[in-house]
Point group: C2
Chain length 257, copies 2
């Protein structure tokens, strides 16, 4: 087992940001400068082609830390962010460009499914190793409630199989914006924790029905689908339940800091 090694630390406005590595995987942990131990921990999964400090993700992390006293962790997916590209990653990027240039939607979809599946297979054990290492930190330990706040796209393609086999995750935010394949539906059928599912209603590439089928597949008795018009890269969420993770992870009686 790899332990977690912090590399840099900066703090501002009541929040401390610490970059770390677990083995070869670079990550970032955001936490309150001062707060009780064992606060809820939220795992954030970034979208395809992005990285662990994508601005939208940083903003959500800051809100969870400064408003609710949570900790938030993000890691770079394989071939993303600060990580080297494998030969497979390089080839896939070239294939994506070619399919887009040719306007070949079927080919774009089949590359996406194959690549998403490969990324998820590699990322799930990385997330588990990261969790193991984080739980070695005294301020987190095994007592901190854990949720997945992955959002749409690649974050969900990885988060669904992770949540299906990871009993430490007790609530999860997923969404559309990626091509759902059969293994995803099978994983979803094994998930019983509360789910918030965010669906961009109009996606340039992705079939809406497959996202609806994924929502349908979750075995959770508590699940909420939230859809707004727009594509997953440009969407503005309106009327969203911002307290989903707080309701499910925070000790009773928690109120905004």
């Amino acid at each position: 087992m790899h332990s977690l090694r912090f590399t840099t630390e900066t703090s501002s406005n009541g929040l401390v940001e610490r970059d770390f590595v677990v083995g070869e995987v670079p990550g970032v942990l955001w936490s309150p400068v001062a707060g009780p131990d064992h606060a809820p921990l939220v795992l954030m999964g970034h979208g395809g082609g992005l990285h662990k400090k994508t601005p939208a993700q940083v903003a959500r992390a800051h809100d969870l830390v400064t408003r609710w006293g949570f900790s938030v962790v993000a890691i770079d997916a394989p071939g993303h962010g600060d990580r080297p590209l494998s030969a497979e990653d390089e080839q896939t990027r070239a294939d994506f460009r070619q399919a887009l240039t040719a306007g070949d939607k079927e080919r774009f979809k089949s590359i996406s499914v194959r690549y998403g599946s490969s990324l998820a297979e590699r990322a799930v054990p990385e997330w588990q190793a990261t969790l193991d290492a984080l739980q070695e930190l005294p301020e987190i330990g095994t007592e901190a409630p854990i949720g997945y706040g992955g959002g749409v796209s690649l974050g969900t393609a990885i988060g669904v199989p992770l949540t299906a086999i990871e009993p430490r995750i007790t609530a999860a935010i997923f969404g559309g914006g990626f091509f759902v394949y059969e293994a995803q539906l099978e994983a979803a059928r094994r998930i019983t924790v509360p789910i918030q599912f965010l669906l961009p209603w109009d996606d340039e590439h992705v079939d809406r029905q497959s996202a609806l089928a994924l929502f349908d597949a979750f075995a959770s008795t508590e699940k909420t689908l939230h859809a707004n018009p727009g594509d997953h890269r440009t969407i503005r969420w309106i009327g969203l339940d911002q307290e989903f993770l707080v309701r499910h992870l925070a000790p009773a009686g928690t109120s905004p800091a």
Copy 2:
């Protein structure tokens, strides 16, 4: 034009409930005992087989009145509540019973569509006459912002064609739980005001896809779909945006009373 005649008045806990008639249509107006004139007015449409004072509807009305200072109006749909049954209503009820007993789903659907269409045709002008009459009251006038808070089922079957032709309605809550027919989709395509759409994910009788098609049809740039597991009669909404009407109808700066 019929004017509005109040028949009974009771008040408790800061809320006054006044029954009224406009022509032959019985209704109820809930308002704050004391409050400024021209507060937002919400039209509530009850479900099929129910009536204007259905407990769930009364509870939502009380919340809007006591928490936000809104007025809420509900009327009995044709053949519902305190209204006489026409020969068509009697026949339709008998037809429904027969189709249910026979387990004939196609027949149940065709009766629902025919009856829903007939009810909507009769109810839309009744709502318009009720609005005309309410706007004669000095505390409402033509200045009060107006929203439709119809919820699922018959309330939406009536509310969609009403909102499509009624420019006084500037925000609306609709939902699934009824058989959507082509005229509903046509009406939805003419609606541009903000929409909150509530979808019971699992309905005993009603096809989910037709509700999704209705949501898709709204021309509104701001529309939100919210789904939870359950049938429209038993559903427990979770993580719902309770302030949708408040955001769209209340003057800026309004906060809970």
